[in-house]
Symmetry: C2
Subunit: 210 residues, 2 copies
């Protein structure tokens, strides 16, 4: 299925999801594009354009039903069948530990199968209830369990070497906190980079120059 939605639209979906969840929790039943726009800090036009990428969820003259809209967006974000993406975590340092607590939430659409670390002292232990394996067992594990997403939380130094060893293991996407630029090694795979250092630097630029 080729998505009609552009990346900017996709990136806004979680925000719609959050605000609509709040509304549902507050017992609000319907909402107009202009009201949603006001809350989200955007325009009514954009809200309607966004939703019409996926099909008309609204009712002319009335607005959008919060429950319906939330359900549709949930399906888009997490899959209609509720099937979860089998996922592994590589690197269980402070960042990996913090990140894994996001992954194990049941609203995310991911299922964290296992964690991996190269530190022998950590192998056999757990992070957030997930067993830590040795990175040496990565290939065997992937052949057996077929994870489709890998979350990389390894320090700068090891990232390049690790990335090459991941080629051919069948991953369809990465959530990449490592410093290494995965898109070189994985041209056909979806990479979501969360480069904390980069984000910190751009903030610095704007604080000094804007």
């Amino acid at each position: 299925m080729q998505s009609k939605a552009s990346l900017p639209v996709i990136r806004r979906l979680p925000k719609y999801y959050r605000y609509l969840s709040n509304m549902k929790n507050n017992g609000i039943k319907k909402v107009s594009s202009s009201e949603l726009a006001r809350i989200m800090g955007t325009t009514a036009s954009q809200v309607r354009q966004d939703f019409n990428c996926f099909g008309g969820f609204g009712q002319q003259g009335i607005g959008y039903n919060v429950d319906t809209l939330l359900h549709e967006i949930s399906c888009l974000l997490f899959g209609d069948e509720g099937e979860k993406l089998p996922t592994i975590l590589i690197g269980t340092g402070r960042l990996g530990t913090a990140v894994s607590s996001f992954l194990i939430r049941d609203t995310n659409g991911y299922k964290l199968l296992a964690a991996f670390d190269k530190n022998p002292a950590l192998v056999g232990q757990t992070v957030n209830g997930i067993p830590i394996h040795s990175v040496d067992d990565l290939e065997e594990f992937c052949a057996r369990e077929h994870p489709v997403v890998a979350v990389l939380c390894v320090p700068r130094d090891g990232a390049g070497e690790l990335a090459s060893s991941l080629v051919g293991l069948g991953f369809k996407g990465f959530w990449n906190f490592s410093h290494y630029d995965l898109s070189v090694a994985f041209p056909d795979v979806i990479v979501e980079n969360v480069h904390l250092g980069d984000s910190l630097m751009s903030l610095g630029y704007r604080l000094r120059n804007e």
Copy 2:
């Protein structure tokens, strides 16, 4: 100083910085826009347009001097004087701890003055060598030390209340990992959101639908 660079350009600066640092470390002295574009996965046109937002760093017919270019970009990102942005961390859980290790690197242009937590058991301890204060002391601390950046690593529940208590304490920017949308409370302040949950959801959408 009103910046001529747009946000997309600013967000690319750290990546230029990283690749140019690698080049310098590998002893490479000069680079052309086309070679830099190839490495970065963009076009030579974009590279030249980007650099010309700040002034011509290159030499026609020759290319760019790696050292010069790196120095100019460093000045843009970290300030020419090397003066660091006084910063505090709020929330010293797993994420706050991981994030603080970025902040204390001396290449980032930030100076982490103190950390704050509402958990009395943590007050008086340290994260990465930085003392943890009680959030009750926040106002007094800001009046005395005038931090300009606050890094928010608090869980969803407390974020809204905390945000309102930060108004008027003189912050110029936030690096926001919390779930709360700060732009409502701080319309004139630069907010860099790192919403891990949102980023995870958009990755999920793309993996299922692209």
